[in-house]
């Protein structure tokens, strides 16, 4: 076979491949990124999760709020205090009855007017669609008093009603637009949905008849990028203008790059360690104290959280008015508590009592990788203090918690997502609640929570919440470790994309792009 024929054949083959790659690599200009003409400014943002549907009253209500297209009757300001939004004012007639005055001149994105009747329909739909709104609002009846006046009666006194009306499950929508297949849902926000492709993007354009300050941007595109590193690289490559939930490991890269600003906001999340009070080892309060004393909170904040977090002293982050729990001087030593319970250090340096070693099982789960690293640090620290901990990684933490084969467990929760302590305390601490995963039962705490449920005055509520946390910190059904911060980054040209403890308020009408 002739050698030059072979060569000719190989050259042709490689030329075809090179041509194909050039063709795909060089055709057309990318449509990504932002266009920045004065009249037609656009921004592209990267968020981790895509809504599965656009129904505001299902499990995607948070994603709808995040898109900047939807609004609720009440909003939480940066101090997490409820302030008027679609409801311009409200007053309480008696302990169960509230009268709301709605903003006038508000229209839904389909042009229909928002009035008391449409708000009633929307709230009734959210109550019908899911239990979350029912649990939060505890509404018995809604009555239209006039075009812009609404009366809400609760089944029992619900002092947190106003704060809970800021929850995304109560988004106000034109109910007619949610039924049937035609068109996108009509909300009242500064942006209206233009196009949605699940798992790809949501495009929202400026709503020209918006009742508030009109949006500065003509269009916002949200790209759904679940992978943290891809989100970071999309920002670095200019495919997006801002990205949320930047993995902590990657922050240093962005901080060195002068094109970007790294922004942080205190979150309403608390990383904690649960004690299983059904476990014979840790149902003892002094032994729990010994374990709690061994948690190296400062080291965890510095190393794992890279400084993007604060040491936790209670279930609620310090950004909340009822989150500033006074930390006790923990001068006691682990040894004091252990010896008080009759444990002795053996020759291996492990606590032992009547031939039984102090060995505990600690659960962790892969969905929040930082918790597993924390568990390993705590495990080392416990070992140094004479307590052996075996880490068990489980796929589904909530199912594992339901079985009683654990002593300690890493956990993470949004503890005051409406800026109010009531919901979390009722669900997580009431003796008979199914979500009381630590099996902690305290009749005095139950009474305090009931008292909180009935108290309307916000100063008194904050005081009660602090009192409740003191009881929790004394009984110690959980050890609170760290309040993580939310980290996001934006190109310096992006203005107004500012931190807020509530993650669904990132997009608002005053976001701008100035090159």
């Amino acid at each position: 076979m002739k050698k030059n024929t072979h060569r000719e054949f190989t050259v042709v083959l490689w030329a075809v491949i090179a041509g194909f790659l050039l063709l795909t690599g060089c055709t057309g200009e990318s449509e990504e990124g932002s266009a920045h003409t004065a009249a037609d400014k656009k921004a592209v943002l990267a968020f981790p999760w895509s809504p599965a549907s656009l129904d505001p009253h299902g499990s995607d209500s948070w994603e709808m709020m995040r898109s900047g297209t939807a609004e609720t009757l009440v909003k939480l300001n940066e101090e997490l205090t409820p302030v008027p939004w679609l409801a311009k004012e409200w007053k309480q007639e008696n302990e169960n009855t509230w009268i709301f005055q709605l903003e006038e001149g508000v229209t839904f994105h389909n042009g229909n007017a928002m009035d008391a009747a449409s708000v009633k329909k929307s709230l009734l739909r959210s109550l019908k669609q899911g239990q979350t709104a029912k649990d939060l609002l505890q509404i018995e009846s809604i009555e239209v008093l006039s075009e812009n006046e609404l009366k809400i009666v609760t089944a029992k006194p619900n002092a947190a009603l106003i704060a809970h009306l800021a929850d995304p499950s109560t988004i106000i929508a034109d109910v007619a637009s949610l039924e049937g297949e035609a068109g996108y849902p009509a909300f009242t926000g500064a942006f209206q949905i233009k196009q949605f492709t699940r798992d790809e993007s949501l495009v929202a354009e400026r709503y020209k008849d918006y009742w508030g300050t009109p949006a500065l941007l003509s269009e916002i595109t949200i790209k759904f990028i679940p992978e943290g590193t891809t989100r970071l690289m999309a920002l670095q490559s200019g495919d997006v203008d801002a990205a949320t939930d930047i993995p902590i490991d990657n922050i240093a890269v962005l901080e060195k790059d002068e094109r970007f600003r790294v922004l942080t906001a205190p979150s309403l999340r608390t990383h904690m360690m649960l004690f299983n009070l059904n476990s014979p080892l840790v149902n003892n309060q002094n032994l729990r104290k010994a374990i709690d004393l061994s948690i190296p909170r400062a080291e965890i904040v510095d190393s794992i959280m890279a400084g993007y977090g604060t040491e936790a002293g209670g279930p609620f982050p310090e950004v909340l008015p009822f989150g500033k729990v006074e930390k006790k001087n923990q001068a006691e030593s682990v040894g004091k508590w252990m010896e008080e319970e009759g444990w002795q250090l053996n020759a291996d340096g492990i606590w032992e009592k009547q031939g039984r070693l102090f060995e505990v099982t600690m659960l962790t789960f892969p969905q929040r990788p930082e918790l597993t690293v924390m568990a390993e640090i705590i495990q080392n620290e416990l070992l140094e203090k004479g307590i052996k901990a075996e880490i068990r990684q489980v796929e589904n933490i909530d199912e594992a918690l339901a079985n009683d084969e654990w002593d300690l467990s890493m956990y993470s929760m949004l503890t005051a997502h409406t800026g109010d302590p009531q919901y979390f305390l009722n669900i997580f601490y009431q003796s008979d609640s199914a979500s009381n995963v630590s099996h902690y039962a305290s009749s005095s705490l139950d009474r305090l929570i009931d008292q909180l449920n009935q108290t309307v005055d916000s100063a008194k509520r904050n005081q009660l919440a602090l009192q409740i946390q003191e009881v929790i910190n004394t009984d110690l059904p959980q050890s609170f470790i760290v309040y993580p911060e939310t980290v996001f980054a934006a190109r310096k040209a992006v203005k107004g994309f500012t931190p807020h403890p509530i993650e669904y308020y990132y997009i608002h009408s005053q976001i701008d792009v100035n090159e």
Partner: protein
Amino acid sequence: MIRFCLERFAQLVMVIFFVSTLTFLLLRAAPGDPAYLLLAAHDVPPSEEALVALREELGLTENVWKQYGQWITDAFTGQWGTSYVSKKPVAEELAGRIPATFELAAAGLIVMVMVTFALGISTSIYSKGWLNRIGKIMALFGSSIPSFWLGFLLIYFFSVRYGWLPSMGRGTLQHLVLPAVTLGLGLGTVYARVLRTSMLGILNQQFVTAAKARGFSGRRILVFQVFKHALLPIVTMLGTSFAFMLCGSIIVESIFSWPGLGRYIVEAIHMRDYPVIQGYVILTSFLFVFVHFAVDVIYALFDPRLRVR
């Protein structure tokens, strides 16, 4: 041929029956409560009332055998239920993702075929030179580099560093390049070694010598004799790889935010969206059987001996 098709159809029915039964049983045995996962999606603990109401709504409180009976009936009538998460028909949801996955699989296959052919043929012709050494190194890297690492490396160089190609998403032809290369490059370099070995073996066969003696041109012998014969083992491998790609490449789709079946099923598994997982299993079983059927047909086209049998 008719008998062959009927056999394959019977196989398809059996495969779907066994796979769907197994999936149903494994899902019910696996830990995870779809109702809890849905309600606690934002890490806010749900109330017991909410959990009970949602379990009821999703039909999770019914007898397992009743659920299984319903599922088997649904599986064969094409009514694959409604997604717990989106509340939309599963068949519609899956159908919506097939174009993206097919597009990526086809592009990945093209890259794979091009790399296989170019590297395989050239290294078999220059079987002892530097090109062969490069081919060997590429195959070593291709088989050992994890696709997530290759994907991030490609994004870093071609998107972040030089800005030539988009880093993620689907849309233009440019969006397709990096995921397709990530998907096809590694396997392509490995298959190239198989093709090379196969071609070198055939180049020494007597019928090649006979063809030369008969005065056929080198190009004709290469294309119509050697390459055609060497292709047979590759077709099976390409077919199997394509079937895998059609089921959605979970890692590549996740890295590049590609809205295909792979990314969808990861989310469905995470949320324990049983109807979606079960529907996906039926679809992929069907795709697997279909692609293998297509490979058998292509095989017969390439190799007349099989047709005679």
